[in-house]
């Protein structure tokens, strides 16, 4: 493949150039430049998808230096799927923010968004451990900036809490990488996988890396920074955070877990991760039930949904390749469906709060009568989160159920069912509030139609995933380092 045609470098250059341009251009030019950038990003991701499906995984050596010395990027099926996912969700949130934010806020939003997008693409395509660290730092700063730039008391406190947790997480990750480099002598992930030798150093390194990444993905005991951050930020920002940002550290966790075959050598660790996931599902669901603010309910639902994804780890059982394949595909499909559903739900929730003007649940009375479109979008996203049949969430849960049944770990089935009941409870509770009749006329503000349609389209995609879930599953089973490492 000729170097110039490969879209991998363009997926990084466009957002970085977009960030520099949108910082320099005067305010009203920034949206125009960003719209052009968004379309080129979407085009580049589609080209990458086309190339990976037809020519197999793409490898790209940065600065023309090969892997152990230089840095190489790789685009296998998994990475391409995530690049496509982040392109769709980020462009939807960008268009939403374009109409939703004031001119001054929007001027600052664009460069932060472009840096976030660049770091996401950098992480999906990275194949070098230190490169992942710098990508994570870029992601953290962009996310903290997006939370903090709403510049009011609640978002400032949330951003400080988020920054401290994320910095500790990335420093633990860096310490793990340092130990790995000392033990193996290389930073590139493929040469690490080849020369991997289990010993005390690698075990400590893996624990540190997993600990740091669990903190950044806000898995159960380390989740306290997430609800205020996702609940307190501006609507398009919380959608971006919940749908994409926490998935980045989860993606790195998954890569390390499968490519270095940690599940084979530390089965006790996988059971521990499963327990954390179960805790996240139950605790997140329970807390979501007790929240009074709409966005906090959705934020705690994110904590619960991360638990479902972490359930994938104990099901990757070395001896049963059939169950592991099902678990891997179910987990990725759950992650994908959650990204679209949660983004749609946050945007719909933002619309509802805009209509009532008050963030709490009680003031949602009468919304079903006066704003059915937003409620429908919220409902569609809820269907996918609950895992009701037609949605992508249902297929994912069904696969996880099958995998845990096949690998004989019945307790995960109990957790999955309990979790579904809890998520149904807290979503129907929100609906209960909206059905209450108010005798008042339609005195609520009406958001622009485009805001409602964007929320509806994202929730719709998560439902469509239910019908077309074969396509992403094909994508992730394309040959690549992850597929070789799976049992």
């Amino acid at each position: 493949m000729n170097m110039i045609l490969s879209p991998i470098p363009w997926l990084l250059v466009i957002p970085l150039a977009g960030a520099t341009l949108t910082m320099l251009l005067p305010y009203h030019w920034r949206s125009a430049a960003s719209v052009v950038g968004i379309f080129t990003q979407l085009m580049a991701s589609v080209i990458l998808w086309y190339q990976v499906t037809h020519y197999g995984p793409q490898f790209y050596a940065m600065a023309d230096w090969q892997a152990p010395l230089g840095i190489s990027l790789r685009a296998d099926g998994l990475a391409t799927l995530f690049v496509l996912m982040s392109s769709l969700v980020a462009s939807a949130c960008a268009f939403y923010a374009h109409h939703y934010l004031s001119l001054h806020k929007r001027a600052n939003f664009w460069p932060l968004l472009w840096f976030l997008w660049a770091s996401l693409n950098g992480i999906w395509l990275a194949a070098d451990t230190f490169n992942l660290y710098v990508g994570l730092e870029l992601l953290t700063f962009a996310a903290v900036g997006l939370v903090a730039f709403a510049s009011d008391e609640r978002s400032l406190e949330a951003s400080i809490r988020y920054l401290y947790a994320a910095l500790l997480g990335s420093m633990a990750y860096l310490l793990g990488v340092a130990l790995l480099y000392g033990a193996q002598g290389t930073l590139a992930m493929d040469s690490l996988a080849e020369t991997w030798q289990w010993g005390p150093t690698t075990q400590v390194a893996v624990t540190l890396i997993l600990g740091g990444l669990l903190l950044k993905t806000a898995v159960f005991p380390l989740h306290t920074w997430l609800p205020p951050a996702h609940g307190g930020a501006l609507t398009p920002v919380s959608a971006l955070l919940s749908a994409l940002v926490i998935k980045a550290s989860f993606y790195i966790l998954l890569r390390f877990w499968i490519e270095f075959q940690i599940y084979q050598f530390l089965p006790s660790l996988s059971q521990l991760l499963g327990a954390l996931g179960a805790g996240a599902i139950l605790w997140g669901g329970w807390m979501a039930l007790r929240q009074t603010h709409l966005k906090m309910v959705v934020a705690y639902s994110t904590v619960a949904q991360i638990g479902y994804m972490t359930l994938m780890f104990p099901l990757l059982v070395a001896e049963n390749s059939e169950a592991s394949m099902l678990a891997y595909q179910g987990g990725i499909l759950m992650l994908l469906a959650h990204a679209f559903a949660k983004a749609g739900m946050f945007l719909a929730a933002g619309n509802l709060i805009f209509c009532t003007g008050k963030p709490d649940l009680v003031s949602l009375a009468g919304m079903s009568r006066y704003r059915p479109l937003n409620i429908f979008a919220f409902g569609l996203a809820g269907v996918s989160l609950m895992g009701l049949p037609p949605s992508g969430g249902f297929n994912a849960k069904w696969m996880l159920l099958q995998s845990s049944f096949m690998s004989g770990q019945w307790w995960w089935i109990v957790v999955l069912l309990l979790g579904s009941l809890l998520s149904a409870a807290y979503i129907f509770r929100v609906f209960a509030y909206t059905y209450q009749e108010t005798d008042a006329l339609d005195t609520y503000k009406r958001p622009r139609l485009s805001l409602e349609l964007i929320a509806l389209s994202l929730s719709g995609i998560s439902i469509l995933l239910g019908f077309a879930s074969l396509w992403p599953l094909e994508m992730i089973s394309l040959p690549g380092p992850v597929m070789e490492a799976l049992p």
Binding site: L12, L16, L112, F149, G185, P359
Partner: protein
Amino acid sequence: MNLLIDLTLLIGILAIAFTCIVSRSLFRSVVFFILLGLMLAIGWIRLGAPDIALAEAAIGAGITGVLLLDTLGHLKKTGNLENDEPAPSRKRLVLAIVSSFTLVGLLLWAVFNQPTPAINIHLLVTEAMPESGVSHPITAVLLNFRSYDTLLEVGVLVLAVLVGLALQTDQQAQDSLPGLPNPLLHACLTLLIPAMLITSMYLLWAGSDRPGGAFQAGAMLAAAFILLHISGIKLSSQVSHRMMQAGLLLGFGVFLAVATSSLIGGRPLLAYPEGGAGMLILLIELALTLSIGLILLSLFTIANSPPHQTYQGGDHGH
């Protein structure tokens, strides 16, 4: 003899770090942190890393120390430096001790069971040096072999300034730090500033074959700017906001432009043309030095400029 030096450094660094953490007064904690930065610089010399010693002294102890002291001064001026906040609860103390000891135990277990690494990247570096365009290995790694990391890292710096600017809601916020009208300081400036600029350019030029480079030179330039800023000559009043913004982005923009130009020329991203590596690296480093100097200065000025008093709340609710 070497063992003696290393052990004294080890004990000294750990003692200073301990005082820095447990000292009652915040001012002593910050001063000891700066002292720790300087001791670490000596440590890096012992480890055979003069580049990092320069960077640690200039950036780690210097710029971070100035930022911390400035925040301290702000807290002191508004009269609540030593607010006698209740000592954290015993439960927190026990948790902290237990977790830090497990961390140290794990790390010691890992350090003392080090396997011999299979690959030695160092040999690859020496092999690839001839085509790297520079003769100093660290600059070669930073700006040629792993230049993608450096590009992202400069992006991180620009992003930190961007977040600071986004929070500084009032664009023309006048700085709360009045210049120090000290005659001796102004007299010495005429001597110190030129010396700092020359050293900064020397560090930049030396980077191609000796320890030095864009980051250390940028930190030196930032020190000169901050010294001017403290003594009352505000760069932000001389240079228009638009120019300042362009200066912040110059380094990152030039780096990105050179990277994409190789893309258009049919070579992979960030691959320098045949023989042109040395010149392009110098061009990038020049732009980086100026940008890093301005970025570190504006990180300092943003921190101490008061925000707009009336906060514009979130626009359409949250």
